[in-house]
Amino acid sequence: MEIVEKVGTPKDVWVTCPGCKELFYIDRSFYLPQFDRIKLHCPFCHLEFDKKESLMTWGN
């Protein structure tokens, strides 16, 4: 997993689905402690995955 810091729109974090490898973006609040364990949902292939499984993450 590779993480690139603070590029693109600072408000959002861009993630890559480990299933279909498509890129989408999530709200930064997923990193708050109360939401940290919520699985992401790929809007393209509907895979649910932990954000740490994102193949590439931008803006975290």
């Binding site: 989408f24 999530i26 699985k39 809007p43």
Partner: protein, 537 residues
């Protein structure tokens, strides 16, 4: 029952034995446009009227409006007879109409569901896309929405309660495992949306302290037959109710109603105080009492519109958050996936031949009536109280709820900036306020921009407010996305320096009046040729 209901709706005098019949009919005022044109509304599964129980012949609902528009404005009604998919295709059609600035009400007879089957329920959409048509629905001037709509909302008419047998929305009642939301023709709008979204659902919940209901249009991703995502922003009244229920350790009851007369929809979107029921405002805008009926799941603790097309009842379970989105929203951008609440559906009730009302999310259908009208009315009501020089308000489609144009009578210095400061707190979605003079056409964006260009100096006429709480759907916001910068520009000319004196500001280009009156295009140009001459933009 999962939770203890301890609500009361004090404005209603619900009698479960049905002794309120006199109340039921007190609002059945005849009007010339309420004659029966129901047959004009397509019903693919047969004659609904013979199967329908207890529909009030007079109460305003979605059907009375569709009948009216087909009769009075047939060219404003587009009936699509060909099959068309609810996934993307209906929205694509709306988007193409938006691009050429045409806004008919669209009735889809044969919507195709995600599994390829034809839906038994037709669709109506673009119901609220035209400013002129929307104003006409309400019987107001499209250029005076701010004051006339505000007057209607303020003219609250208390709802009446009808029995279950009198409620068309109770024709079909499905509970528990019989519930299957995917049978309804729910749109998927944008390419990144994770699935079908109900964009037209008015989520009704109640303040557990007072029992007073709140209604608001909120998006719901249909995740499975009995579960939806549900996003309420942190600044919403719904979120205040969620927090209160959860702090009591209870799930929050909700009832989501879909499909009603556009005037009822307008009242449901009115911007009110908290806690304050929207039902009397719906009556005020409709001009007659809204008919309510107890929900199946929560009884008279949560009342629902009897003349809606569909009602979904369920709970927002405590402390449950799931990923929701991405979703293309009113700013015209696809908002990020975010942690959101869910609704566990317990029951759905609907008319046998329900018409599904879908909204073209992010298009004029979503902006004009459902956002801009209530915002104009709210701003006018609030700001006029402190600034009598306010003349009119326009929330333009182009600004997508972030922009508002104010027209003031500049009789003294400082009015422009006062107007900006009074306006910004009226709505968390407002970002930029443009204040112009009374000679500027508020509904002509070219005029407004001309005023900004030639009546303002940014170093002294700009108001900038940093660190303000804002609606989080603006992609330009810095992280974390709920605090931003708002402001406004005073684009008014200096006021007169004394009573009876002119405004010492350069005069506007103008042909002498007598010449302007004497020169007529048709005396010099053939009308057919005129129509073919090039335009500009």
């Amino acid at each position: 029952m999962k939770l203890k209901i301890n609500l009361k709706l004090p404005i209603l005098d619900y009698d479960p034995k049905g002794s309120h019949d006199a109340q039921l009919f007190c609002h059945n005022r005849l009007s010339p446009h309420r004659t029966d044109l129901n047959a004009e509304v397509s019903c693919p599964s047969g004659d609904r009227r013979t199967r329908r129980k207890g529909r009030s012949a007079m109460a305003k609902d979605l059907r009375t409006y569709l009948e009216q528009i087909q009769r009075e404005k047939p060219h404003s009604f587009l009936r699509i007879k060909k099959p068309i998919k609810v996934a993307y295709e209906i929205t694509a059609l709306q988007r193409k109409l938006d691009a050429v600035q045409k806004y008919p009400v669209i009735f889809v007879e044969r919507p195709i569901l995600d599994d390829g089957r034809e839906s038994p329920f037709p669709v109506v959409t673009n119901l609220t896309a035209s400013r002129d048509l929307c104003a006409e629905i309400l019987g107001i001037n499209p250029r005076r929405v701010a004051m006339e709509y505000a007057a209607k909302v303020a003219n609250r008419i208390e709802p009446v309660v009808v029995s279950r047998d009198e409620a068309p929305v109770k024709e079909v009642v499905e509970k528990g495992e019989k519930v299957n939301l995917s049978k309804f023709p729910i749109f998927t709008h944008n390419y990144m949306d994770p699935g079908p979204y109900i964009g037209s659902g008015f989520v009704t919940c109640a303040d557990p302290d007072t029992g007073i209901d709140n209604t608001s249009l909120q998006r719901m991703w249909v995740k499975s037959p009995r579960r939806t995502g549900y996003w309420a922003s942190v600044t919403s009244h719904s979120m205040q109710n969620i927090n209160k229920w959860w702090s009591r350790g209870q799930d929050m009851p909700v009832a989501v109603w879909i499909g009603h007369h556009p005037a009822a929809i307008a009242g449901g979107q009115s911007k009110l105080a908290y806690p304050e029921s929207h039902y009397p405002s719906m009556g005020g805008v409709m001009g007659e009492p809204l008919r309510l009926v107890p929900s199946e799941t929560f009884g008279d603790a949560l009342m629902v519109p009897a003349d809606a097309e569909i009602v979904i009842e369920g709970y927002v379970p405590k402390d449950v958050f799931e990923a929701e989105g991405p979703f293309g929203e009113y700013p015209g951008y696809i908002g990020p996936q975010r942690p959101s609440n869910v609704i566990e559906v317990a029951c759905v009730t609907y008319r046998q031949d329900a018409i599904f009302h879908g909204i073209g999310v992010g298009l004029a259908d979503h902006l004009v009536f459902l956002g801009n009208f209530p915002m104009e009315a709210r701003i006018y009501s609030v700001v006029k109280n402190v600034l009598p020089e306010l003349m009119n308000v326009h929330v333009p489609i182009s600004g997508r709820r972030n922009h508002v144009y104010l027209q003031v009578k500049k009789s003294r210095p400082g009015i422009g900036k006062d107007a900006i400061m009074a306006t910004l707190p009226c709505d968390s979605r407002l970002k930029h306020v443009f204040v112009v003079d009374e000679d500027v056409d508020l509904f002509n964006e070219g005029d407004v921009m001309w005023s900004v260009a030639y009546r303002s100096q940014w170093d002294k006429d700009l108001v900038v407010v940093k660190g303000s709480a804002v609606f989080p759907l603006d992609p330009s916001l810095p992280a974390p996305g709920n605090i931003g910068t708002r402001g406004g520009i005073d684009a008014t000319a200096p006021p007169p320096i004394g009573i009876g004196l002119p405004r010492f500001y350069q005069m506007i280009n103008k042909t002498p009046d007598e010449v302007a009156e004497a020169i007529n295009l048709e005396d010099y140009i053939d009308p057919e040729a005129l129509a073919k001459y090039p335009t500009s933009f």
